[in-house]
């Protein structure tokens, strides 16, 4: 009996000795929540790749990756401190800062131009938004400022079109329930074309309308209290995005691990390619991926205010910071 106990004691000691091997300091836990379900949106890809390629671990971060359903709970969880970093559309970020007043800060502007556009079937005969006159234009939830801005740009008014609240199924376009359908550029156009539909697409940016896309978001609190973590985080994800840009196939393989077996790799590749394209601009050429300017943000805020989607009084300097980006 004593021999058995001795052997057990030695085994236990050996096991506990092995468990403690952490090299230098401890890893800092960070919770990241993607603003939607797993897919190849560029900010998500940056995180997936950074996790897979060890860019987080290199900098001492232990990042847990969560996904939200797109309902908005990611902002609630961020505000409550359960999540450290999340993603959000730039316009929504401005709106939520204002009402209900969540103290959000953009720490990296990945989508240098907006995610959304409008499409119609090619055989509708429409070629220009001025052709929207007398037709039905769909919106999801509430009509976005983009719609009104485009109408203004081509000299039409709200009364020239029929605005319809459509759902999230693009088949309403193909079945003829609506003439113009709102889409995410990286998503539905690909789906529609794969189903054999030829479409014509209009992007508000083509009409001089300021649009911005996805950002990485943290709270003012985290920005003030944990800047090193955010700096390490951003460095890792920017590295991840660079990797994806250079090795898209490999990046998609990593993404598919999160998307799951039901996912379509070709469609995910389309999303990645589209968003890589949208991540570059004059600003990023000068200062690197994710850089953002006061001018970009004020133009967007002005647009939203003009169409009543945002109350005046936003302090632009408080909305974003570049201090955590590699270029700073």
């Amino acid at each position: 009996m004593r021999r058995v106990l001795a052997v057990l004691a030695i085994l236990v000691l050996a096991a506990s000795a092995c468990g403690d091997d952490r090299g230098g300091g401890e890893l800092r836990p960070v919770t990241f929540m993607a603003g939607f379900t797993a897919q190849a949106n560029l900010p998500f890809v940056g995180v997936y790749v950074a996790h897979d390629q060890g860019y987080f671990a290199d900098r001492g971060l232990d990042v847990t990756i969560e996904h939200s359903t797109g309902g908005g709970e990611n902002l609630q969880l961020l505000a409550a401190g359960t999540v450290d970093v999340t993603t959000q559309d730039a316009a929504v970020l401005l709106q939520r800062r204002d009402d209900p007043g969540i103290p959000l800060v953009s720490i990296g502007l990945i989508g240098q131009t907006g995610q959304q556009a409008f499409v119609a079937l090619a055989d509708s005969g429409m070629s220009d938004p001025s052709d929207w006159a007398g037709r039905s234009v769909g919106f999801k939830g509430t009509p976005p400022p983009d719609v009104f801005a485009i109408l203004d740009a081509v000299g039409l008014t709200e009364d020239d079109v029929e605005l319809i609240n459509v759902g999230f199924d693009p088949r309403v376009l193909t079945e003829g329930q609506v003439d113009v359908y709102p889409v995410f550029k990286s998503n539905e156009p690909d789906l529609l074309e794969r189903q054999g539909f030829e479409i014509v697409m209009w992007d508000a940016a083509d009409y001089g309308i300021p649009t911005l896309g996805l950002t990485y978001v943290a709270t003012e609190d985290t920005v003030a209290s944990d800047p090193e973590m955010l700096e390490d985080f951003m460095a890792a994800v920017i590295e991840g995005i660079s990797y994806a840009s250079a090795n898209p196939d490999s990046a998609i393989d990593i993404v598919m691990e999160y998307v799951g077996p039901e996912g379509d790799a070709a469609h995910q590749r389309f999303i990645l390619d589209t968003e890589l394209g949208d991540s570059v601009s004059e600003v990023t050429d000068a200062s690197g991926i994710g850089w953002q300017t006061a001018e970009q943000w004020s133009s967007l805020a002005d647009l939203l205010e003009q169409y009543g989607a945002l109350a005046p009084g936003t302090v632009i300097e408080d909305v974003f910071t570049n201090e955590f980006l590699p270029g700073s």
Partner: protein, 244 residues
């Protein structure tokens, strides 16, 4: 002096006050958990809740009437032609097992963005409990009563109208008590699935804007409507079934 309602009211009041105090003391932001006072304020303001509630109520009641009628008719059919039962039940189970999420988008494509899909979804949800309970009810006739009726050579339709139908009424009311709140939920869920107006849409927009007071206010209105519809069913039951 009836104590029950007073105790209930005091309990609710106590819980609400506790909620208000906790939110204030912990300084919880409104976009996480709204205080009852914020919700009340939202209820008071002209926020479009009442028209939204009317729309959802209309969808729910229409769907309930259609669903209950279908369930009832099928049950009557099965009572007279027993060999229909298997076919009807197989289809009914299929319908019941299909999640609303799968059905709602297809309905929107067929029927457009208006009331149609919501009423259909609600009808699909409510017909099953009515069908099941009606079949049970029509069958639950006491054997002695049935023998007696046959001794008088009562026709099948006489037996149905004078014996089976009245006998089934408690079962039907039981089904309606389940189906009525279900219809409200069904209408709201259908509104989430497709484009729409109504309480479901109100809740969806509120959540998208992280406007928690608005969301909670809508939920409160929904709860009151459900309770109201349930109460109406109970009242009708009390007036029709006086013999139990």
């Amino acid at each position: 002096m009836r104590r029950g309602p007073i105790v209930a009211a005091l309990t609710v009041l106590g819980l609400v006050s506790l909620w208000e105090i906790v939110v204030r003391i912990t300084n919880t932001p409104e976009y996480l958990v709204p205080a009852p006072s914020a919700i009340a304020e939202h209820l008071g303001s002209a926020s479009g809740l009442l028209p939204a509630a009317a729309i959802t109520l209309l969808e729910a009641v229409s769907g309930l009437l259609i669903g209950a009628s279908v369930g009832l008719l099928l049950a009557i059919g099965i009572t007279f032609w027993g060999h229909l039962e298997q076919a009807v039940m197989s289809i009914a189970l299929l319908v019941k097992s299909t999640p609303v999420i799968a059905v709602a988008p297809i309905l929107t494509i067929w029927m457009g963005f208006g009331y149609g899909p919501k009423v259909v979804v609600t009808a699909l949800l409510t017909f099953f409990p009515v069908l099941i309970n009606a079949i049970e009810g029509f069958r639950s006739v006491d054997r002695s009563i049935h023998d007696w009726a046959r001794s008088l050579d009562a026709s099948p339709s006489e037996i149905f109208m004078k014996i089976r139908w009245p006998s089934a009424r408690p079962f039907l009311f039981a089904a309606l008590k389940v189906a009525a709140p279900l219809a409200m939920i069904g209408a709201v869920v259908a509104e989430w699935m497709g484009a729409s107006s109504g309480l479901g849409r109100h809740m969806w927009v509120a959540y998208a804007n992280l406007d928690m007071p608005s969301l909670f206010a809508a939920v409160l209105v929904l709860t009151m409507l459900s309770a109201g519809v349930y109460r109406i069913v109970v009242e009708i039951e009390h007036r029709t079934i006086r013999w139990a």
